[in-house]
Amino acid sequence: MKAIKTLILTLVASFAATALHAAGELNLFGWSEYVPQDVLEGFTKETGIKVNFETYASNEELLSKLVAGGGNYDLIQPSEYAAELMIRRKMLAPLDKAKLPNLKNLDPELKGQVHDPEDNFTVPYMSGTVGIVVNTEVVKTPIKGYKDVFQAKFKDRLVVLNDNRELVTWALYSLGLPINEINPAALAKARPVVAEWVKLVKVFDSDSPKTALLNGDVDLGIVWSGEAAILWNENKKFQYVLPAEGAHRFIDILAIPANAPHKAEAHAFINYILRPEVSKIVSENFPYTNPNLGARQLLTAEQLANPASYPPAGAKLQTFRDIGKAAADIDKLVTDLKSAQ
């Protein structure tokens, strides 16, 4: 839904932009609600490069489009597990680091991650976690992990991401199983857990799970940390908790497809985003964890104190790995359990 809204905005913006006689072009394919309009305009103003911005709502949608051969994209924003798959399938172009001096601003902790051990193909854009939001005005009992959320007393008071892999991952965490080994045995163990859980959920929403919490339709949620951060900014009653059993950490990255027609422009854009003052604008609009240490210094104390954006160290976090065809098994399992209600 959001994607459509953003698409319309983008179309309007791109029509406005055609009026300018630009030096070059950049076809950006990014998440809906993730790249601030100010950043795009600032880049065009400075370089004269026109940005054509298209959006998607999930990594799977991005992969579908790229695999189907649609669009000549110059820059994409996959999450780490999708990037891992693309690197393996040689779908990404290696980066020319000489053109990216601002890489020095990045948090070294995010370098050399499993999806791209040499950092040859990817640059972190934002990272975040999937955790629990509690409306502490209504829920008085302590909530520490997935098992505390999915209790019978919270039936119809829960919102969770409408994402089948996330749901199965939480079940695997709660069982103490590895989250990236999706096989029939693991799914068989997760099945009864997920079956109980889906009965308790009131809303499945990946686009804007904060809405149901803000509207008072639910009291607890398992959502993207950026959504939780916005809720906390609205009202401090919304507390963010990283599940004790472990949580999914995602790293959204910038990468250039192998067949991108405008690679030089794409490098220019990446380097522009990596400037502290530009990256700060992203943080202000979308309060995920900013991997840019220079930008973090420009944030206010309150922004840095937001527990959803910058959670305390020591939590058990793991990124997703590519699971190949097992994605279809997960989809069938969750569809089955949802429809069995």
Partner: protein, 294 residues
């Protein structure tokens, strides 16, 4: 025909066979149908026998596997539920839409146009925005609960949003105009003298309605039913937004195959079966209608 004078006996071919002019006029439509109906359907059919590869691409082989999966009880149950929801929506639309359409058709010409405009006005706003408006009305601290609470009809806010009721409300709201307009079309053409004749022959209002008015407006009801039922069964936006994506409908399942699960061949197989079912229902209805007419 035998009574036609010999002078008008032209070459019979001219009047029956469409000439090149007719084809020229039809060409845009034929091309349109080819490009946007025939070709996509053919692609769907081909894909439905293929396999998904690791990244979600399509491997061109021949397999019945996707069709085996379609008949898995999981998907059949979803199918049945979708038919139920769409059917319920259609029935409610008929019940709500018929009196409205009839009233509009019987009103004076000027008033009729005003009322028709009112039916169309919602289309000036995006469908998604109107759906979000319903969320504002139905949510827990929303307008409806606020009204009912302040009037002391209820003591606890009703949990309306994200329930099957909300889905049906959303569907009826979205498709009601598509029921009203065709019924209006039939009712407008209704000859008043036939109703008067029914009364003269001793039929009361109920009898006149059921034996005269309904059969004469049946084409409108049938067209409306088709226009409501078919889109309603495949709808996924309303089930996601107003139903909380809790209970999947067949539209959601198909959408999911093309996006999240990236299993295009299976999605294609679901689509093909879906289309076949509609075609079959349509053919059956048509042949029944034809038998009825003779």
């Amino acid at each position: 025909m035998s009574a036609v004078p010999a002078a008008t006996e032209l070459a019979p071919t001219d009047s029956r066979r469409p000439g090149w002019r007719a084809w020229a006029l039809l060409a845009p439509m034929v091309l349109w149908l080819l490009a946007f109906v025939v070709v996509p359907t053919a692609i769907l059919l081909v894909y439905s026998f293929c396999e998904r590869d690791e990244v979600g691409g399509v491997i061109f082989t021949f397999t019945w596997e996707n069709y085996h999966r379609v008949f898995d009880p999981v998907y059949l149950r979803i199918f049945v539920r979708s038919v139920y929801y769409a059917g319920l929506t259609t029935v409610i639309c008929v019940v709500l839409g018929y009196p409205v359409a009839y009233y509009i058709a019987r009103a004076s010409v000027e008033r009729r146009n005003q009322l028709l405009l009112l039916v169309m006005v919602p289309f000036w706003t995006s469908f998604l925005i109107r759906t979000y408006a319903w969320i504002t009305i139905l949510k827990q601290d929303g307008l409806l609960n606020g009204l009912l609470l302040s009037m002391n009809f209820i003591t606890e806010p009703l949990g309306l949003l994200y329930t099957p009721t909300a889905v049906v409300i959303g569907l009826v709201y979205a498709y009601l105009p598509f029921m009203i307009l065709p019924i209006y079309g039939s009712a407008e053409k209704l000859d008043n003298s036939l109703i008067e004749a029914a009364h003269d022959l001793g039929a009361g209002p109920v009898r006149a309605f059921s034996s005269v008015i309904v059969p004469l407006t049946m084409p409108g009801i049938a067209a409306g039913t088709l226009l409501v039922f078919v889109p309603a069964i495949g709808m996924f936006a309303i089930t996601d937004l107003m139903g909380g994506a809790k209970v999947p409908m067949i539209g959601n399942v198909i959408q999911n195959q093309f996006l999240q699960a990236r299993d295009w061949p299976f999605g294609a197989a679901l689509g093909v079966i879906f289309m076949l079912m509609f075609a079959l229902t349509y053919v059956i209805l048509q042949s029944r209608g034809a038998r009825h007419a003779t």
